[in-house]
Structures are given as C-alpha cells and as structure tokens.
Amino acid sequence: MAGGDSHFDASAFEQSLEQRQPRRWIGWRLRAMVLAAMLGCGLVFVLMRSLAASPHLDATWQPTARGQLTLLASPVPALADRAGLTLEQLWVPGHAPLALDELLLQRTGRWLVDDEQRERFLQQQRQLSALLAQGQVRLAFSDGSSVTVDTPPRGTGGLGLLFWPFTAFALLLYLVGWGVLLLRPGLRTALYALMVWCQGFNLLLIGAENVRGLGLPPGFGGIDLMLRLTLDVVTAGAAACAYAVYPRRLPEARPIFAAVAIVVAAWTLAAYAGWLPQLWRATQAVVLGLGAMATAVVAWSYRLAADPVIAVMRRFTSIAVGTLALVSIAVALSQHLAGAAPAVAAVAAVIWYLFLASLLLLVPFLSRSRQVLREFALVAGIGTVASSLDLIFVALFALGPLASLVLALGLGLGVYVAARQWILNRMVGARVLTTERTFEQLYRVAREVHDHPEHTPQLLARLLRDLFDPLEMLWLPHRLPAARVVGGGAALYVPLPDEPDAAEPAQVLVMRHANHGQRIFTEDDAQLAARVVEQVLRAVAYDRAVERGRTEERQRIAQDLHDDIGARLLTLMYKAGDRDIEDYIRHTLQDLKTLTRGLAATEHRLSHAVGEWKADLQQRLQPAQLQLHWSFQADRDLPLTVGQWSGLTRILRELVSNAIYHADATQVDVQLQLEAGTLHLRVADDGKGGDPAAWTHGLGLGGVRKRVRALGGQVQWLANGERGIACEVVLPGFDGAAPT
C-alpha cells in the first residue's frame, strides 16, 4: 500500500457529511437535459427516416463455403418458393451486374481487415444502393430461373428487430452522458461523457447497419466506416485522458493529454487523407495502444493512491482492452475464412461494443447496486471471449464451424460458471463473512449488547468491521438519518446509537476502503449495515421485553401468593391459640414471604443478602436471649440466582431455628465464607448437642439437606467441641452457577 493516502483527515469527512446535498434537477439542468434529450431523439429520427426511405430487398441470405449466397427466406412471394437456391446474379437492365460474394452480407467495413477487401465492400455497397434505387431488380438463381422483384422503401416498420434495442441503448448512453456532465460539469465528466457519447453513436450505427434486408442509404457504407473508426479512437484517447484526472489529477496529466492529442490527431489526419496503408491494423494498433496507455495510467494512479474505486476502474479497463485485443486477434486470424466465420467475427465485434457500453454505464453507479447491468456486462464480456475463441479455433486448428462453435460455447459457459463469482468479486468484491458466520456474529453481538449496553457502539463497530473488513474506521460525533455510501464507494457512513434503547443514533461510524481497500462499498452494503444494526437492536429489545414479561409475571404470582395466602395465614396464626402451632404458621408465613420475595426480586447481590440475613437472624435471636456471632468473608461480590438466594435464606433460617428451639443454646456462631467460587457456611451453637436426626423437628433438617443438594453442595453435622453442634455446608461452583 502506497503511503500517499495516509493522512486520513476526519474533518474532510465531517465536511462531506455537511456538503452532500443532492443536486436538484431543477432550473437550467432540467432545461438542458430536456434539450439534450430532444436533440438525441431528433438525430435518431433523422437516421430512422433516412433508413426507412431507402429501397431494400427483403430477403435473408446465407453464405456457402465457396463464397456464394443461398436464399434462406424472404417474405416476398416471388422469392419465398426459391428458398435454398443459390443466387447467381443480381442486376438491373442497363446497369453493370453486382459482384456476388459473401462480402455482400457484411454490414460494416469497420471490421474488415484487408484494405482491398474493404474497398471492394464499399464498392459493392455503392453499387447495390444504385441498383436498388431503380425500383426493380432481377435475380437469377442456380436452377436457371430468374425473377424480377420490387425494391420498395422499407418503411419504419421494416427496420428490423435489432435496430430498436440498439437505438434505445444508444439513447440511454447518450442521456447518461449528459446527466453526468450536467450534474457535475468539469473535465472529468466531460471526458466520461465523450466516451459514452462515442460508444452510444457506435451502437446507433450498429443498429442502423443491421436493419432488415439488403440496402442502405447511398454513401452510408463509407461514412459509417470512417465514423466508427474515429469513434473508437476518440473513445480510447478519452479513456487515457480520463484516468489522468479521475479519481484524482495525476502530476503527469499534461504530458498524457498532449501525447493522446498527438496520437489522435496524427491518426485522424492519416486516416482521412488515406495515408494509412493498412487502415484496420493501424487503427486497431492505435486503439489498443491508447487502451494500454489508459491501463498504465490507471495502474499508476492506483500506485499513487490505493483507492478501491481506482482498483475497480483498473479491472474494468484491463478487461475491456484485453477482450478488444482478443477480438482483434480473432478477426485478423479469420479474415480469409469462408462460411460462417465472417458473421461470427461481426457478432464478436458487436458483442464487444455492448460489453464496453455496459461497463461505461456501470461506472457512475459503481456504489449503487445495478444487478441487471452487472450481469449483462458479464454475459457480454464472456460472449466476446467465447465468440473470439470460436474464431481462433476455426482459424488455428481448422476445426469445423460446428465443432468450434460447440467448443467455444462450452468453454465460454465453463469460464462463465467458474469465473462468475470470481469476476463479480473482482468487480465489487466478496463478502468477508459467509452468511452462516454473519448470523453467528449477529447473535453473539446481540447477546453482548444485551449484557453490556454501554458498549453498544463498540460491539456494533466490531461486527461491522468483521463484515466489511475496512482499511480504516473512525467515529464522528454527528447525527445521520441513514447509512450512506460516499466518495463513489470509498467510504460508508453508518449511524450508531449509544445505547440499545436510544431513540436517535448519536454518532457516525466511518468505514473506509472495504475489504482492505480491495472493494468499494455499494448501496447494498449500506443497507446491509443498517439492517445489521437494526437487527441487533431489535434482538436486544426483544430479549429485554421477554425478560420484562417474565419478571412481571413472576411479580404478579408473587403478589397474589403474598396477598391472598399471606393474609389467610396471618388470620390463622392469630387464631391458633397453641404456641407451637402459632410458631409453625409463622414459619410457614415467613417461608411464603421468602418465596415471594425470591420471585419478585430481580437481583440479589451476595453482600446485600448477607446484610439482610444478619439483620433477620439478629431480630429472631434477640427475643430468645441468644447471642449472635457473625462473620462474613468473600473474595468477591457476585449476584445470586433466585434459587441460591432463597435456598441459603431458608437453610440459615432453619439452622438458626433449631438452635433457638431445640438446642437450649445461648450462643449462635455463623460463619459465611466465599473463597475461589466455593461457599462455606458454618452454623454452630453451644447447646445440648446430640444427634440432630433424633430431633422431633427433623422436618427442618430434611429441608436443609434437600436445599443443599439442590444447590449442588454437601452438608454435615459435627460435635462443636465440648458443647453443642455445628453444621457445615459447602457449596462448590457457587459463582459458576450464577450468571455473570
């Protein structure tokens, strides 16, 4: 990574947050756009009228291996029943007959390699126009029959299936070019618009070349040839210049501009003056040379600043130039082949133009998801490669047309399937995480946010970092309504809340250069980021709602138990009459209260519980004239579960009750110790001692055993020195059972 980009300035981001007011389509922009659209439509209309007015011969032909033309189909009745016959001659009385060979089926001279061949093609086209202009032509077929056919103007309806989509695509390119230029007028956008317009014009011409039947306006062939050559050269030159100023101006911009201008001017001069002996080769060399220059410039730009936008541009450029080179080689190799090869070559070239146009269209929308366009570009690119390969196989290995077609198609499909993901990743990059891992992370982060709501922004940032693997991350204290991609995909702003419950996001997380600078952020990423944040917060809110519901329900049960059963027990206790029964009911009531408090309380900390236990025992021992010795030690404080709290409360109460009522003791010694996760409880008295199991109220001791077992501990009774008895309870894993 080059260091030229390292001064990462937060204030620049702050500014960009303020500035990014979308430019409005009002005022002069809208007017200029409407004007441009009308102009474009007018141009298309003129072309359409001229094509519709030109006379034509409505028939489909197929070249044979020997360079002859076979009638494939025709809607003209006189020709319809001659399908399958080879055309011998096409003439009009009083005119020279037309030379008939497969060149006649070529639509443009742009991709004819040989100068002589191209000259013949143009000558043929001129002648054909002249013949068709007579209104009637005669055709002679191989079976000796001849027929006279009218050549009416083709009319708007007869422009064919290919004309309209190409025209539409061309108009789209034209308008996108204007849109980009009008939104941000400047050198960069002007260069981009120039490229887009050139390619749009190219597509318009391709559409015009491919109208139905034979016959184009007079002179169209020559104009078309020179226009298309010029458009390609200008596009390549504009690309080389564009990378010198986009995304940032290179220090060497001026020499680059000068070099491009010289090359383009020299080519134009030479080509129009007819000084280029090998026009096609020379032009391809110039175009590829300029393309290579553009690739070099963008690579240099990337070395100066590792911006993912440049990385994507570099890929686009090298793919476009690479495929163009492939198509050129294929066409050059197949120039002398007969049969289907010229048609395949023409198709390969057309597909390449579509590919280039779709790449150009992708550029302004890089950070926005354009799934259809992306797939289209991919298919067009692979189509170019497959058809070029087909030609090369035919030329190099002398394969049959069918075999080579199958092979090339298979290879193309194979490449498509195998490389689709790879290419897509190269274009916009892969997700760093798999879906499964993403869900796992989401879940984990949601739990952590639930446990530590104060760390919400950090946890969310970590999740997003894992998702996008950005090169840099920073925080801005700013409010932003929604996640947003800025800098053409260089950075992503995600608003994050301080707390899961916060109504408004309080700060903005800026992530720069996804996938370690290898990928640009897309609108999809912004949506994903926003959704991820939303989902985490929602999961936390849901958890909390569930917990709140549970607590409320527990509290309701506790309240009902306490109020209803408690009041009855109290009445019963007052009416008991017998002291023992009164005490028994009192204990029951106290147990009920412990139970309901355990249900209702949300948290008991050990230190708090110990304070209450001590006060409780004190209060109970005092009237019975017993002295309490209390000691408590803990290496740390921890929250008790409801089970631990109520279990320990009852164990303590039961043991102390025994000391009060059955031991005849004067002192009770309680030691509570928490050490390394193990709780030790020792309750000793100086009473009469003896076997605790023999005590009549064995019920209580059974309860102690049960509760100690439920807490996963052990209990034993020992003689307490000379007098009395001690009960020792050990509860291991005391902290592990409690949730942290």
Binding site: D563, L570, M573, K575, V610, G611, Q619, W630
Partner: protein
C-alpha cells in the same frame, strides 16, 4: 387524660391483635379507636382536629396504619397526615423496601411486621414511640442511594449558582426550591451509620464500631428519617409550586 390511639386495619382478627399489642405496650390509660377503612379513619381524624391537628382539640397520639385497605392505600392517609402531630406507624405484612420505603418517605415513624411474635411487636412498638426507629439493611441501602442520587443532582446546579452570583446579585431564586437542598444531604457520620446498617449491623454493634454511644447512633437514624421526610416534603412543595398550588 387517656392517650388517644387510632388503629386502622381491615382484618378484624388482626385489629384485635394490634389492640392487645398497644394495650400491653403502654401503662397509661388509652382510648383506642378502630377503623376498618380509609373513610372511617378520615372521619375519626376530622373529629379529632382534622389532618393538620388544630389547637385546643385533643388529637390522636399514636396511629397504626395498614397499607392495603379495602378503599385505598394507607400511604394516602400518611400523606394527608404529614402535619399531624402523632406517631405514625405502618403495620404490614410486607417487609420489602419497595413497600416500606415509600411509607417512610410519606412520614411514617416506623413499621411493624404483623407476623412477628406478640412480645417482639410490643418491644418494637415501645422502641418506636420512644424514638428508636427501626431500619432494615434493605431500607438503609435504599436510603443511601436515595440521598446519593438527590445529593448529586442538587450539588451541581448549586455550585454553578454560587460561582456566578457570589459577588453582588445574591440569591434571587424562589425560596422553596433552594432551602431544603441543604437538608437533604447526609452528614458523613449519617452515611457511615447507614452503610453499617445496610450490612446488617445492630445499633449496639455500630456504636462500638464507630466508638460512640448507642443513643448517638439512634440520633443519627432519627435525623436521617427527618431528612427523608423533609426531602419528600420538599419534593411535594416543588411539585405544588410547579402546579401553581402554592
């Protein structure tokens, strides 16, 4: 003259029991009035001088209030009687601070748990009347957070005011908000007492731990009670002035 006592308790058996407790607790002649709900209690109080305790009428000296009553909560009555010159004691089955703390805030001088033994209740009642309010660890803890919270809130604006107005202008702020702020604070000693109480220490233990007499500890507790009550009354005053009642 007999000491007048009001016992408000809806359960007749419990009422009977509490009457016995009161009789046992005091050697003086007593005149016990019983009430089963808030309405009859209010009637009795109106006869005995009204909620503010008019001069010249013999008021109740001791009032036992149950929290859960058929026609409302005993806290309502406690709030009405905040100026009434009697020892007010909450008798309840609830021993958790969620129920007891509001009662103390509403001016209760102490609380008795109805399920305690007769002797225990008699002793506790005598203590409260003598001026030894009981404080459970949970309540002590709650008191600590209460005073810490309001103290911190009150301290910040006050400091700012002093800084700006120390020179000439003096205090022009309305009095009711300004004055009780100082009363709401606990002294370090009181905080210490509360901390010990929250850990379950008895008053005697605290006295020996702090090296002071047990009745000094008791004074601290009484002072805390008073501050709690004052703070709640101050809050009421602020609320009242906000609503334009004062």
């Amino acid at each position: 003259m007999a000491v007048k006592v009001l016992i408000m308790e809806d359960n007749p058996v419990a009422r009977n029991f509490l009457c016995r407790v009161v009789r046992e607790s005091f050697s003086d002649a007593q005149q016990i009035t019983e009430a089963g709900d808030l309405e009859s209690a209010r009637r009795h109080i109106a006869l005995a001088g009204g909620p503010t305790g008019l001069h010249g009428v013999d008021p109740f000296r001791l009032i036992l209030v149950d929290l859960e009553l058929p026609d409302g909560n005993g806290l309502e009555l406690l709030a009405e009687l905040s100026q009434y010159p009697a020892t007010k004691i909450v008798t309840t089955l609830y021993s958790d601070d969620d129920h007891l703390f509001p009662a103390l805030q509403h001016g209760a001088d102490g609380y008795l748990l109805k399920e305690d033994r007769f002797e225990v209740l008699v002793e506790e009642l005598q203590k409260i009347v003598r001026g030894q309010p009981p404080l459970s660890p949970a309540i002590a803890r709650r008191l600590l957070t209460h005073f810490r919270g309001s103290g911190a809130d009150a301290a910040a604006p006050e400091a700012g005011l002093r800084a700006s107005g120390s020179g000439s202008s003096g205090s022009t702020r309305p009095m009711p908000i300004d004055k009780p702020v100082d009363h709401e604070r606990l002294t370090p000693r009181e905080t210490e007492v509360l901390t010990f109480l929250s850990k379950g220490f008895t008053i005697k233990e605290i006295a020996s731990l702090m090296g002071i007499k047990w009745f000094t500890v008791n004074d601290h507790i009484k002072s805390i009670y008073k501050k709690l009550n004052v703070s709640s009354r101050a809050e009421a005053a602020v609320l009242a002035s906000k609503q334009g009642l004062v």
